[in-house]
Subunit: 350 residues, 3 copies
């Protein structure tokens, strides 16, 4: 961890284009922490207005926040229009990214003679690198990983422990895959035949672009034919499941427990919230947001925010959800009206 004066931190932020201004006295900070957890010598931040009242209680030495919010006496502040982005830079500056152990090429790794391992690669004990695999420069492969025959991994990648990549897949540069995730396993490809399932050889592969980050225990099927694709810059949470032949664009973000069926086609910069699903052969346009637990069963136009099962425009779905809650009362109103009409008919026919 580095230590910085608040004035230095302000300058670093300003140099990166933030309009950051120090308010209160200058002092050294060595770490970023939450409003509740921060101690003296640490800097905290307020980005979500829900937590505004916690600013008065924090024991931090400084806080990053917007202009129009109050700060108690004695607490220094860095004022900034975008506190979330500014604290990101503060964390990078004070803490940096995780350092990895340096194993070099462990003698207890099983590396096939035909594998091509890049410069400065860091391959732990208990890793298996199969025939004809390429691992790029500066990669770190943690214990228990298995990289199967013919797979190619670019430069500067990190595979956390127990990641498995099946044969003939391709991983771009600067890709991080968290522990226990599996890439390129066979999808559910069977042909029905006389009440049994005949396995279709899964001869395609899975291809991950550059700067992809995959959470823990995800599974990304290989394609039956052709390839499953995850576009550059896309980030997955944990336990995201991608079916065979599905194509996902660039800079998407999928939250935990999201599932995409086979041959789905998702555009760029799509956000899918937790436990939502996308059916097979469906096309989701660019910049779409899918709300949590929704089920996308038909094509979604670019830019839409969708909700529900089947997922439709979120405002429409919310209107329907609100109306649904009135349903028991509506039934009573309808019943009352039926009675009243009956009464009116009686009067009229008299």
């Amino acid at each position: 961890m580095a230590e910085k004066q608040l004035s230095e931190l302000c300058k670093i932020l300003s140099d990166q284009g933030f309009d950051a201004r120090l308010e209160g006295k200058d002092c050294a900070v060595h770490a970023v922490n939450t409003l509740e957890g921060a101690k003296s010598g640490e800097i905290t931040f307020l980005a979500n207005p829900k937590y505004e009242s916690a600013v008065a209680q924090t024991r931090a030495s400084a806080v990053i926040l917007k202009d129009d919010l109050d700060v108690p006496a004695g607490l220094s502040a860095i004022r900034c229009a975008e506190p979330y982005a500014a604290v990101t830079l503060a964390i990078i500056t004070l803490h940096g990214y995780r350092k990895h152990p340096q194993w070099g090429k462990s003698e207890s790794a099983e590396i096939h003679a035909s594998a091509n391992i890049g410069a400065n690669a860091n391959i732990a004990a208990g890793v298996t690198i199969a025939a004809d695999v390429t691992i790029g420069d500066n990669c770190t492969i943690y214990p228990g990983c298995y990289v199967a025959e013919g797979t190619q991994i670019g430069h500067d990648c990190i595979l956390f422990p127990n990641v498995v990549i099946y044969d003939r897949c391709e991983v771009g540069h600067r890709v991080t895959i968290h522990a226990g995730s599996v890439v390129g396993e066979d999808g559910l490809g069977y042909a029905p035949y006389e009440g049994k399932w005949i396995k279709i050889p899964q001869v395609g592969r899975a291809v991950l672009g550059d700067d992809v980050e995959i959470g823990a225990n995800c599974t990304i099927d290989r394609a039956t034919l052709g390839q499953t694709e995850i576009g550059s810059g896309t980030k997955f949470g944990n336990i995201v499941v991608v079916g065979h032949g599905t194509k996902i664009g660039k800079d998407c973000m999928f939250v935990g427990l999201v599932g995409l069926a086979g041959s789905a086609n998702v555009g760029n910069h799509v956000t899918i919230a937790g436990q939502a699903g996308v059916a097979g052969h469906v096309h989701v346009g660019d910049d779409v947001t899918v709300a949590g637990q929704s089920g996308v069963t038909s094509d979604i136009k670019p830019g839409m925010t969708v909700l529900g099962l089947p997922a439709e425009d979120a405002r429409d779905t919310k209107r329907v959800m609100a109306a649904t809650k009135k349903l028991p009362a509506l039934i009573k109103r309808l019943q009352a009206l039926e009675n009243e009409v009956k009464e009116l008919r009686g009067k009229l026919e008299k």
Copy 2:
């Protein structure tokens, strides 16, 4: 990969009972590929009418498809009433199934002296085989797998990397388990006692029949008492969760992220689509289909297709879903009618 003339491929299909006819000129093909991905020397197929327009653009040398569909000039066709089944056979013929590395019994595997390892078993480095385990002939156990005490695995099974099978379980013949899946772990078995949870020893086991295939990162609990059972021929996608004591029949297919609670009882040839769930102690009949994201909370009769939470006849649920969308408009209609009835009453009472 094998190379075949289209005429040879037609004969292979015919020999297997397909009514397959070559249309256009004969030529050699060495691979099957998608409509978009196929190159010259490859054969493609059209099974889903959604992709019919892609036939005109394909660069494949041949296409497998039904009789009544157009094929552009110069593209050879194999006409067949069941293109999906036929392409399965074409893939098996031209590509075959995955070949596995041959490690024999690796010296870096930890195999207990009391374990019984079959002929031609292929046990990788970093595998642990505990006491009293039986592994059948021709099995392939990839690195990082752990087979606990007393577990029995049949012939011709494949455990991909990092599969864990707990103690005293049983796996049939020709079973494939993909990377990271866990079989026989303890279920959520606790007795409540003064606000705490007392662990119930999970003394049952899990039993997988023959020809079962389990996707990646699935978890199949052992039973508290007795056994959890997966019937022969059943296939799981990735991240399928089976609770303790649950019994699943033969030739079922469960898609990714499906969860079955403990003591559920599922018949034969049941299909459960992605992210659907089955509650505990519920009985699902033979040949049932459960739609994606549905929740089965009570018994389902054989042959039904169910949808929704609680899951009911899919046609009924779709009717309700369609009606629900009209609800905001219905509320307006009801309001208007109430006003009208009030007006009529006014007129009538005047």
Copy 3:
């Protein structure tokens, strides 16, 4: 397995405060089993009235059940007001908890020189213990586990195969983590910047209390700042996903495929059923029960049972669900009423 006379078993139950009485002849039993699976010499139980009819068919030598239920001639019974709790004690008495293999400190484990390993710790081949790790006394670490730099694990813990714990996390005493689970991986922490995602270093950690049990293939994020917390006595099923910075109280029980987004705050003794989710920054009070597949999107008061998306009082939601099913019929009634009012208006205006 121990063998006990029924009279001995009754005494053990009575000594623990159960009002247990033997009915029928005394005999030895050596195992507990299900009603269907039990054989002579085994004892079974009836806790769920759904299975009452199976008592007549059981081949067990004895059954544990409530007072008011019939038992066929020749079957001994232990009568007890709480058969589920009593059978738990019977299983513990006759079977005990799982015994673990004794590896000591395997020479094929990679244990960093700076790691502090407690007395009688049992560390298998293929385990990696990184720098500055503390492992308490009597822990069992199965093959393929990875414990990263600076993590502290208490006494009497069990890590089943292929568990991964990231750096600087903390695990209490008597904690069990099942195979393939991951603790302390980075959460989905990115700041958006010009259409790309900038990774926020995840400098917090994850902390598990005492007596926690985590199922297989779960993932528990570290906090971005501060800590993710799982309270003492809390139990997870398989594939439970906990987001970064989320705090979970004591003695909770979460079933399979449950997901909690980041910064959620869950009280003590909360039960969350399968496939349910909790949104970020939401507070769930003590003693809440969340029904399966529900989605909690706003704060829930202590003691409530909630259902649906958004999750609300379960009785209200069930009323709405029941009303929703009548909707197609309601639409017809509304249409009929509109026609009738039109007709009445016609008559009235004539």
